[in-house]
């Protein structure tokens, strides 16, 4: 799947993933009204509204980008009907041949992580049959529980030719509270008292690189074990790029969160690959920005398309002008 993602990035010339994180306040009035008329102001009504909204976006952008990243929390908040909308969105995007990165940030221990892995990336045994659950192409994984929590995902990825992106350095303001903590070098290291101390994200980055070395596809330069590193931390991105040379980096935080095109160059390798940049509300709610106001609510999908095209130019320009 990592090779499919890379091939699609090369074909579309867009190292871009569109975050399908529908919030009710993004959904145009007419879509909300139609959904509420059919299902009432209920979880079912909300789920119908976000599904119709997503469908409009996907129809408008699927030929421009390689991948989408639905954020499951935005669906899970609407309970079971929300999860049905998530499933519909995943299925529809796969029909459109988009690579689907489930932004689920799961992670648990042993058999529990295995259950998440089969539920999101694999198949689960039911009697004599194997059944697919949500069946995304990639999932994001939280590393706090250590390799017990990650290895079940690696196993399923290997069997199913899927992939993961492990959280390393997240884009949010408080990500440093734990991730930037300076960790002492292991005892018995030959280094002096300060030498060898590293921030926690570098340790996680090294682990991701090690897992990745075990998880290379039969051909190609990149592992199917990727990393998440926020666009809002370009300096850390530069360091992590070196620590994890064969790791694909999923980069959130572009646009609304403050990351700029020029900050992104550090996340790419010299082959022009190695990173895929996410934008969510900057694209799906573009029509609410002054810049795209001319599209109006009814033109929200066309505004999203225009925002993708502009993001593509911004990134291409930044990559061309790097030294």
């Amino acid at each position: 799947m990592i090779n499919k993602l890379i091939a699609k990035i090369q074909k579309t010339k867009a190292p871009i993933v569109v975050g399908l994180d529908p919030m009710m306040k993004f959904v145009p009035e007419q879509i909300r009204r139609a959904a509420f008329e059919e299902f009432g102001e209920t979880l079912e009504g909300a789920a119908e509204a976000i599904w119709q909204y997503n469908k409009g976006i996907v129809d408008a952008i699927y030929d421009l980008v390689p991948a989408v990243k639905p954020q499951i929390a935005m669906y899970e908040q609407f309970g079971v009907p929300g999860m049905i909308a998530f499933q519909k969105t995943v299925d529809y995007c796969k029909e459109k041949d988009l690579v689907v990165i489930g932004d689920v940030k799961r992670g648990d221990i042993g058999s529990t992580s295995e259950a998440y892995a089969v539920g999101h990336l694999g198949k689960v045994q039911v009697g004599s049959k194997m059944c697919g659950g949500f069946d995304e192409d990639f999932a994001t994984v939280n590393p706090y529980l250590g390799s017990d929590g990650v290895r079940p995902f690696l196993k399923v990825c290997k069997e199913e030719h899927k992939g993961i992106f492990v959280l390393v350095k997240t884009s949010n303001p408080s990500s440093g509270e734990l991730q930037d903590r300076l960790v002492r070098a292991a005892k018995g290291s030959t280094a002096g008292e300060d030498a060898g101390d590293k921030p926690l994200y570098e340790i996680v980055g090294s682990q991701v690189a090690a897992w990745g070395a075990e998880c290379m596809p039969e051909s190609g330069d990149y592992s199917y074990v990727g990393a998440v590193v926020g666009a809002t931390y370009p300096e850390q991105g530069r360091i992590l790029r070196k620590i994890m040379p064969r790791t694909f980096i999923l980069v959130p935080g572009y646009g609304v969160q403050g990351g700029k095109g020029a900050d992104l160059v550090y996340f790419f390798n010299e082959d022009g690959l190695g990173a895929i940049i996410n934008s969510s509300r900057g694209i799906i709610a573009a029509y609410q920005q002054e810049k795209y106001a001319r599209f109006g609510e009814a033109g929200y999908a066309e505004a999203a398309r225009e925002a993708v095209l502009e993001m593509k130019r911004d990134i291409a320009c930044a990559l061309e002008s790097r030294g």
Copy 2:
């Protein structure tokens, strides 16, 4: 809700939570067969089987324990039908007046964590209405993203009188890979070169205590911000108990994972409170142990009841003999 949990622990004399983590291999043949006859070997069939299995367990134990902890991964693996079984299980346990701890280990940034918080503990705005999603009483939360990821849960807990348990030191063998890393004291501290260095779990524990201090119920000694610390690490439990004196500790890892009654005393305060011990397969699949084999498959629920009673005696005995 923390006060309700404490009152129920005192009433049942059982600081015990039963983990409802149904795996298909635990479900008795007759329940599986009936479900597959009705729904086929499908996700719906699997979901029906685990729901009926859960119902039997809950009916057999609800008067003995204060709380249950469904592990959502075990439901999520069966896709949407699994999530329906999760919802049914939560609703049924609440009908039986059990406190429901959703073991969801969610955690994301800002508005995304807020979506998880409202989906699992609060209500979500749909048009002019507020709708409840999964609506557990407590949820487990992963702290890797920092306080941005936790604060939205605190807000919802305050509004809804709910609670969370933050992962601090998990029960699994590899939990130390990140959680035990020795973190350097902040620069500018007056401590010497080694003094003040702490393992990461202590730093997280201190954060939990600080969040907890902001989140005390109107009366009572314990915060509604709890912590998860594995029974398999009693020495760390002893330290964390001191760092977080007003924090309720959810303790997984008893029984099958290796934690023993005698290890548990360190997790309790001198008031005999402050901890609640989880057992999952040791109870729900007790009938598969030689010790309870006399109950047979058909008696799986009675075996679970017997296992709860024995666990209760083991913990009471350990608490009495400490000192």
